[in-house]
Amino acid sequence: MGKVLTLARRELAGYFFSPMAYIVGALFLLVCGVLFFWGLPWLDIREVFSSGSESSLRPLFENLAYIMVFVGPLLTMRQIAEEFRSGTVETLLTAPLTDAQVILGKFTGVMGFYLALLAGTIPFLVLVAIFGQPDAGVAVMGYLGLLLLGAAFVAVGMFTTTITRHQVVAAIVGIAILAGLSLMMQLLVKYAPEPWSYLASLLNVMTYFQDFAKGVFDTRALVYFVSIAGLFLFLSIKTLESKRWR
């Protein structure tokens, strides 16, 4: 566990010592601000904060979940692919670390950065609290949901970064997988005939996330996110492992 945390710390420091993290953070907050104050009317996304609107961050959480489809793979794309490209993977693989420790360490590092991004949205919550009466349950569950969703999405990103040495390819594949699990499933839920619509709703990430956004804790969602994260981390470990004997 110590080795995992050491590696995670190193990864996290890597983020904060490079300008990229700050640029990503600033862009993330800018997008959040736009969604919070204006929404995206042409996509039928309503603003969160205006007189008479529901004093809740739920719409922001739901929109962030969609944004994470793109942000998740972008955060992870360089993790292993870059190691392969630059050749530092040899050092990593010969270090006294197991493959699982490598993956978990990097995963924890990315999650740390992701948490920092989420923390940036707290001023919005404070604002809603000043001018309204937001439900604490919804806020807590919303953040918990974003954490779990982020874990699953980052795990998918970790997997895609282990299968290629090209960062962009890793990001595109990751976005494709996540879009399949969210946007594609949403469309299937809406337009596919039964029972495919029902099956799609069982696989749809957003179905589970919306529970959290509403302030509902559901073990189905918990199991779903944890199992998706676990499966892709396992696949990442196995993929990295295969580099040794292939």
């Binding site: 700050y22 104050f37 509403k214």
Partner: protein, 1024 residues
């Protein structure tokens, strides 16, 4: 050993030969068994659905590939090894998942159409064989290949684990609504209602609307989540709930079929009756047609003279046609895609058959009555004929005496005139004499049948025949006799006064008029003919008369119709089904329990959001209220006994019953919404006019309840708690609800208050609906003050003002919202109020309530506010101040009036709704009351009318006012856990445009800038 030179195959040294051969042999064997199995299946199952041949071919190809891959593996092909490994892993995974889902839910419906064997009998061997094959294949790998095999197997195992974990999670899950308002979980009330359910429940969710505003796919998920929670809650107490999610046309058809079976099953006698009718309809119709066709009557038959022959035929033909239509209609209802309303259909058939029977009976009765006519005519026929003949003869003599116009002028006109006068007198006597026997015929009938059927007879019989049996001939004969008599007397008087020329002129004019006598003569002949025909019916008619007399006119028809109608005597009372109507609507939930099925409509589950919600929402925005709506339906369907009796209590003006205006049956019409909501909440609703004794009089001695308020409210000997809802004004009926004729106001007199005191002391609880300006309730208010220390200040009206945006010290009164004040500062401590927080409640005519500290109630009273006013922009004004404000408003100073406190005004805090309970004292039971100082806000009109908060803006009526009454009723009888309210809404953001213009640039630019600044700090520190 053959060396594989294929470039796609790895060298055989990657395989462990003994295991590879064994794995190949097992795969070949299983592949061959698979091929054989498919062939046997095809040969033994000849009747296969379309498309199955393709599937069989695919199976054969798959198994053949396994055999081929096994054969190649024997030759050392590593690619075959990988293919077989993937094949057996996938097979094992599918078998495991199918087996698991069968264990968790049920065997898939399609399985039985595929194989008669139980699913487990196939899945288990497949799982074992796939496991064996996989193990052998892994053991068959050497070095790197074994490593790769292990990775594949471990990934498959991981996928299996994930799927299994999710399947189990879907089956047994825990769900907790952390949100304060609890919009997504089961409310305590619903949990309480579910606890009382012991029969299996079937919930059918039919959210299939494609209308963009109510699209089923959008509204369905939350309904399914909620019903899923209900299912879990019921499962914990061992009650099964089956949830059917109907989304496709096929499922909708299957649902209709299921409902059809249920509906038919609940009205089996009606169903048998309808089926018997359908079975016998053809023979019945044929028998009716035969009766119509066989008419034995000739054209000149006696009955035809009465028009009965063709009339009867026509009637029978029409009856046959009607029955044919009825049969077609009923058959269509049974055979169509509709859920047959068996009760209604049975009533339809019963009514139609009864009408047929009545028609046949009427025809028989009429024939039976007409059969009396010959017998009536016969005794008087000869005398009448003789008299008519005499009249005819006298008429003939008169005609001869007068002569014809062409005859020569008489030589002695006076003598001729005398002769004519004598003939006229004879005619007069003969006609008058003939009237008697003719009248005897009419008298015999006493004008019964014929007059009763006068219209029909006048249409069917010729004039003379009809005249004979009606009163006319006697009258006509008498009348003509009288006329002749008068004529004779007139001539006699003229005779001496006229000259000879004058007499000749009279004779000539008589000759001119004499031609009219011919028609009278002809009529006499017709009378004679009619008498003859009426007294002697033909043979065929006589036969029909005999049948009618024996009530055997239509023996082939009457017996089966009587037998069918006889079945209806055993019908049990059954409510007509409205399921078809409900199913024709969009988005409904059907709740089925204990053989009954009822629908929860879309507007109950997803009512329109109140106007207090987010301003940006469209007018069609809806809010979820499924928990309350479905639970209420379950409550009304499962509770057999009402929780208590609510008496809507009032007093009409006069105390004396003899002076009191009569109360119509629907006397409480203005309170029907409240009454209906109370009934839905499982209360029995009655009324009590305080001028009458209490409707369900009980012993007035106080009870000694075992424990708790629920039992405390019931007096000794009573099984049900009693709640008095004391209405603010006397009820007005729908009949007398004319604004131009107002009913006199009722008054609560001291004796009325005394009656209330007596009932409350005996254990009843009460909800008092007071309010501003209701001075007629003074006696009741005095009782509240003395006995409960509750001071209702009905002489003051609560008003609310807005702060002026320019000058915050200035207050403006919005006159429009006085009738719809959004007071919802409900107390958390009161269970009645707590559930109404954030709900859409609006009030009118609100007066303040305060605790009267000076009052000394006879027992200890606990006073608890439910709804209070604390805002300094609200206060209560007296009538003088209110009049001033009214004058300002009327003088056109605008809708928004500047307003300030006056000395007589009452400033907050004060209450507008309170609950009070008291401990048991000697002779007095412990009980509870609730007082609401805005009773007028609960009338039907207020609860159902939209209103105008601003010019050109319409707002919905309050949705939760009625919940206040229902919640109060539950609290009054101690059933706190049944308290619920409508949909909850989160309080909106309140931010001005000016504030927003400052905040957004700060947040939008400030936050990212802060992050970038942090990078600047970090990089600077690192450089150092």
């Amino acid at each position: 050993m053959a060396v594989n030179k294929n470039s796609q195959s790895a060298p055989t040294d990657q395989l462990n030969k003994p295991f590879a051969r064994l794995a190949a042999a097992v795969s070949i064997l299983l592949g061959l068994l698979g091929v054989a199995g498919v062939l046997v299946y095809v040969l033994t199952h000849t009747a296969q659905p379309a498309g199955s041949t393709l599937m069989h071919v695919a199976w054969l190809i798959l198994f053949a590939l396994v055999v081929i891959a096994g054969t190649n593996l024997l030759r050392g092909c590593t690619m075959s090894h990988r293919l077989l490994l993937v094949f057996w892993l996938v097979t094992g995974l599918l078998a495991a998942l199918t087996g698991l889902s069968t264990l968790l839910w049920a065997e898939p419906a399609w399985w039985k159409t595929f194989l008669e064997l139980p699913l487990a009998a196939v899945v288990l061997p497949v799982l074992v064989l796939a496991g064996v094959a996989t193990t052998l294949l892994v053991l068959a790998s050497a070095a790197r290949l074994r490593y790769a095999s292990m990775v594949i197997v471990s990934i498959a195992a991981a996928v299996l684990l994930v799927v299994v974990a999710n399947l189990i999670a879907q089956k047994d899950y825990y769900r907790k609504d952390i949100e304060t308002l609890g919009r997504y979980g089961l409310s305590d009330r619903t949990k309480r209602i579910l606890q009382d359910i012991h029969d299996p429940v079937q919930l059918t969710v039919i959210y299939t609307s494609t209308d963009e505003k109510r699209k089923g796919a959008d509204f369905r998920p939350q309904v399914l989540e909620l019903t899923g929670e209900m299912k879990q809650a019921l499962a914990r107490q061992g009650v099964q709930m089956n949830i059917v999610n109907v989304t496709t046309d096929a499922e909708r058809a299957a649902l209709r079929e299921r409902l059809r079976t249920e509906v038919v099953g609940s009205a089996q006698k009606q169903d048998k009756f309808i089926n018997d009718f359908l079975a016998q309809a053809d023979s019945l119709i044929k028998a009716i047609k035969d009766e119509a066709d066989k008419s034995p009557l000739k054209d000149n038959a006696y009955l035809n003279a009465w028009g009965l022959g063709p009339g009867l035929t026509m009637n029978l033909e029409q009856t046959a046609e009607d029955l044919q239509k009825l049969k077609a209609d009923i058959s269509q209802q049974y055979a169509g895609g509709m859920v047959p309303d068996v009760t209604q259909m049975a009533k339809q058939v019963q009514t139609s058959l009864a009408a047929v029977r009545d028609d046949l009976n009427k025809a028989g009765l009429m024939i039976k009555e007409i059969a009396k006519v010959p017998a009536m005519v016969q005794p008087h026929k000869d005398a009448a004929a003789a008299a008519v003949k005499k009249s005819a003869e006298a008429l003939d003599q008169l005609t001869k005496a007068i002569g014809k116009p062409d005859d020569a002028a008489p030589k002695d006109p006076a003598a001729t005139l005398k002769e004519i006068i004598a003939a006229m007198r004879k005619v007069a006597d003969a006609f008058t004499a003939s009237a008697m026997p003719l009248e005897d015929i009419s008298k015999a009938d006493n004008l019964g049948i014929l007059r009763a059927n006068q219209q029909w007879a006048s249409r069917s019989l010729d004039y003379a025949t009809r005249s004979v049996v009606m009163k006319d001939p006697a009258e006509m004969q008498t009348e003509f006799g009288e006329q002749m008599k008068d004529n004779a007397e007139g001539l006699e008087a003229q005779l001496p006064k006229r000259t000879s020329e004058g007499q000749l002129s009279i004779i000539q004019s008589l000759r001119q008029e004499a031609e009219s006598l011919a028609s009278v003569a002809s009529r006499q002949q017709k009378f004679l003919a009619a008498l003859q025909s009426l007294s002697s019916p033909d043979e065929a008619t006589r036969k029909i008369f005999t049948q009618a007399a024996d009530a055997k006119l239509f023996p082939a028809l009457q017996a089966p119709i009587d037998a069918l109608i006889g079945q209806t005597a055993d019908f049990t009372e059954s409510k007509p089904s409205s399921l078809n109507e409900e199913l024709s609507r969009d988005n409904v939930i059907l709740v089925g329990i204990a053989g009954r099925t009822e629908a929860v409509p879309f507007d109950s589950v997803w009512p329109l959001r109140s106007q207090q919600g987010p301003a940006k929402d469209s007018a069609d925005a809806r809010v979820f209220n499924g928990d309350s709506a479905i639970a209420s339906k379950l409550l009304t369907m499962t509770q057999k006994k009402p929780f208590g009796t609510v008496y809507l209590t009032y007093a009409t003006m006069s105390a004396g019953p003899q002076d009191r205006p009569p109360m119509p049956q629907d006397g409480l019409a203005p309170w029907e919404v409240i009454a209906s909501r109370l009934r839905e909440a499982n209360f029995e609703v009655k009324e009590w006019n305080l001028n009458d004794p209490f409707p369900d009089a009980e012993p007035t001695t106080a009870s000694a309840p075992a424990s708790g308020p629920a039992t405390a409210t019931a007096p000794a000997g009573s099984s049900k708690p009693r709640i008095l809802v004391v209405l603010p004004v006397p009820p007005q009926s729908k009949v007398t609800q004319n604004p131009n004729i107002p009913l006199p106001p009722g008054f609560y007199m001291p004796e009325h208050a005394e009656k209330l005191r007596k009932e409350i002391n005996a254990g009843a609880s009460a909800l008092f609906l007071a309010g501003f300006g209701l001075q007629e309730m003074n006696a009741v208010m005095e009782y509240l003050r003395k006995d409960w220390g509750v001071n209702v200040q009905s002489d003051r009206l609560i008003i609310a003002a807005d702060r002026d945006e320019q000058d915050p010290r200035r207050l403006n009164l919005n006159w429009n919202v006085l009738s719809h004040m959004a007071l919802n500062d409900f107390s958390d401590k009161s269970p009645i109020g707590k559930s109404l927080r954030s709900q859409r409640v609006l009030w009118q005519g609100v007066c303040p309530i305060t605790k009267d500290e000076s009052a000394k109630p006879p027992r200890s009273v606990t006073y608890e506010p439910i709804l209070s006013v604390t805002a300094d922009t609200m206060w209560a004004v007296d009538e003088t101040h209110l009049r001033q404000l009214g004058e300002q408003f009327m003088s056109g100073q605008g809708n928004s009036l500047p307003v300030a406190f006056e000395p007589g005004d009452v400033r907050p805090p004060f209450d507008v709704a309170v609950q009070a309970s008291c401990a048991k004292a000697q002779g007095i039971a412990d009980n509870r009351i609730v007082v609401l100082a805005s009773g007028a806000s609960l009338t039907d009109r207020y609860l159902q009318s939209r209103w105008t908060p601003k010019p050109n803006q319409l707002a919905d009526p309050p949705t939760s006012n009625a919940d206040f009454v229902v919640n109060s009723a539950y609290w009054l009888i101690g059933k706190h856990d049944y308290i619920a309210a409508g949909p909850a809404q989160i309080r909106p953001v309140s931010v001005s445009q000016a504030q927003l213009h400052v905040i957004w640039p700060l947040m939008l630019a400030g936050l990212p800038a802060l992050v970038l600044a942090a990078w600047g700090v970090v990089s600077t520190l690192r450089r150092r």
